[in-house]
């Protein structure tokens, strides 16, 4: 998968991705929470995806930074899901999504503090032990620091080194944070433990105020982020790269051109061949996905 370019299998677009002749990702990223313990139509789509493509998983609800104990039942189910789908790369966010025992379903910024480093390091180690695979932790976009006592780069670097985990480097998030918090993106990336990067995310964003960008995953990647990506990959070994898009799927050819753009940059700096290197990638149409129209009345497709 090193140097390959994938796309997220979001539910809204899952069927389209699996049937599309226009889109040719090398692998698919799945959010396990959206597919775990599900039967019926979605399960068929998941199976078809796993049959056709290599899969990476990107979790949302682990809440590595929370004060409350980790949800071990959930983590055990997660491990079964990863095993079942042959997933090697599992990533999560360096953030918290749970507070006072309530899930919040979005990524809140952990205070950049020494005790938070100790806390997160300890939790990543325990999660890795249970999952029996490394965790790739992602640098998240944040819109304000909270009660920080150290810099973001010190915070993330120390966690990755001490937890002996991997890093999911989201290049767009670096761009967004550098803009929002007025630092130099290249200097930041230069200080990261790039030898620990296992996976890269590339995405679009939205500027909502003159001095604020929100990480929306709904827009095309902008040129300065492509430039930062190109600068970055010259300083590290090949890893899989994901085009992260969660909304606005209207134009498939536009997504395909983003995949192609990423590949053209990668080819300049990494030795990668995009001729179907695994039998899996070049396999035929997905099986098991029903294209039949629903019959009868009162049909819902939620």
């Amino acid at each position: 998968m090193e140097g390959k370019v994938g796309i997220g299998l979001r539910r809204d677009i899952a069927d389209v991705i699996l049937k599309s002749k226009e889109l040719s990702p090398d692998f698919l990223e799945i959010v396990p929470e959206n597919w775990m313990g599900i039967g019926g139509q979605w399960n068929r789509i998941r199976k078809a995806a796993v049959e056709k493509y290599p899969i990476t998983c990107h979790g949302l609800s682990l809440s590595i930074g929370s004060a409350e104990e980790l949800d071990w039942n959930f983590i055990r189910d997660l491990k079964s899901f990863l095993d079942e789908n042959n997933v090697r790369i599992f990533s999560e966010h360096l953030s918290y999504t749970k507070s006072q025992n309530a899930h919040l379903y979005d990524l809140l910024p952990i205070p950049f503090r020494r005790d938070a480093v100790d806390h997160v390091v300890d939790r990543i180690k325990r999660v890795q032990e249970t999952l029996e695979r490394p965790l790739a932790i992602e640098n998240v976009s944040y819109y304000t620091p909270v009660a920080a006592e150290m810099t973001e780069i010190e915070f993330i670097s120390e966690i990755v080194e001490r937890a002996d985990c991997k890093l999911l480097l989201d290049v767009n998030n670096v761009y967004v944070n550098a803009f929002n918090h007025k630092y130099d993106a290249k200097e930041y990336i230069g200080k990261l433990p790039l030898d620990k990067v296992e996976y890269i995310h590339m995405a679009g964003h939205e500027q909502v105020e003159p001095d604020l960008i929100i990480d929306t995953h709904g827009q095309p990647i902008i040129d300065p982020v492509y430039d930062l990506f190109e600068w970055t990959i010259q300083r590290m070994d090949p890893v899989p790269v994901l085009l992260e898009r969660d909304y606005n799927f209207d134009e498939l050819d536009q997504l395909q051109s983003e995949l192609a753009h990423l590949k053209s940059i990668i080819k300049k700096h990494w030795k990668v061949s995009y001729e179907s290197s695994t039998g899996k990638i070049s396999s035929a149409e997905p099986s098991g996905v029903s294209s039949a129209e629903p019959s009868g009345v009162h049909v819902t497709t939620k």
């Binding site: 949302l60 503090r113 629903p294």
Partner: protein
């Protein structure tokens, strides 16, 4: 825990603000930025509820609906790590709070339950299908039933009528919600009390329809004979057409 109390408290301040939207002093933040977190967090929850409960949303209207979502999110303590299951917690929260009677929308609980069941049946884990053959005799052979269904009882017929009419038709309604074996799409059937009895007995007893005819006749007050046979044939034929009865058990 290695997180100091102070740091944990600060994290909870931001978390609580995101859940409730009530302004609070959070130390060491950039002015004018924190409200984006409340907006982003709340939008995710609101979008999830909007797409799970389109009929309830339309029935209550935007403003009223938003109050229900806010109430749930600030006081309901969401427990599921899988956000697509959150609408179930929303239903359970408002049922436990008796929100429907408080806001004088007595149909509310039924409507939420009905809309949630569509999602539940659509997404529930696959259930093992019985071995079946296509041809047989509907009275003498044991029927193979599609295992992917739920039967619910409603007080208000929100599955049949707009809420205004449904409110005046309080009674006992049974709805069978099932997943199509071919497409995975969800359909529902309104069942009479008698048909609910027949279907439930078929599932629970696993015997040919003939063996239940005596009980069906005494429950319904319809004499055994051609009239009852025709009615049963029509009912079973209808279930077969809808793929709720798949055929006849092999063994």
């Amino acid at each position: 825990m290695k997180l100091h109390e102070d740091t944990a408290r600060i994290q909870d301040l931001l978390g609580e603000y995101c859940r409730t939207g009530e302004d609070t002093e959070i130390p060491g933040v950039t002015p004018g930025r924190v409200h984006h977190y409340r907006r982003l967090v709340y939008n995710v929850v609101r979008d999830t509820m909007d797409s799970a409960y389109p009929i309830t949303l339309a029935a209550l209207g935007e403003e009223h609906w938003d109050l229900l979502v806010q109430d749930f999110f600030s006081s309901g303590i969401p427990q599921t790590p899988q956000i697509w299951k959150l609408p179930f917690e929303f239903y359970r929260y408002h049922a436990s709070q008796e929100t429907g009677s408080r806001i004088r929308k007595p149909y509310l609980e039924d409507l939420l339950y009905f809309e949630w069941l569509e999602i539940e049946v659509h997404t529930m884990p696959d259930r093992p299908y019985p071995d079946f053959r296509k041809h047989g005799n509907i009275f003498n052979d044991r029927l193979a039933i599609n295992p992917e269904y739920e039967i619910i009882r409603l007080e208000y017929p929100v599955h049949l009528h707009a809420v205004k009419e449904a409110t005046d038709l309080k009674g006992d309604y049974f709805v069978l919600i099932f997943r199509s074996p071919e497409t995975g799409y969800v359909q529902f059937l309104n069942l009479s009390v008698l048909n609910t009895y027949i279907f439930t007995r078929l599932v629970e007893d696993g015997v040919p329809l003939n063996e239940l005819k005596g009980d069906i006749a005494s429950v319904s007050g319809i004499e055994s004979g051609k009239y009852l046979d025709d009615a049963l044939e029509k009912f079973i034929g209808d279930l077969m057409k809808k793929k709720l009865i798949l055929g006849f058990l092999k063994n």
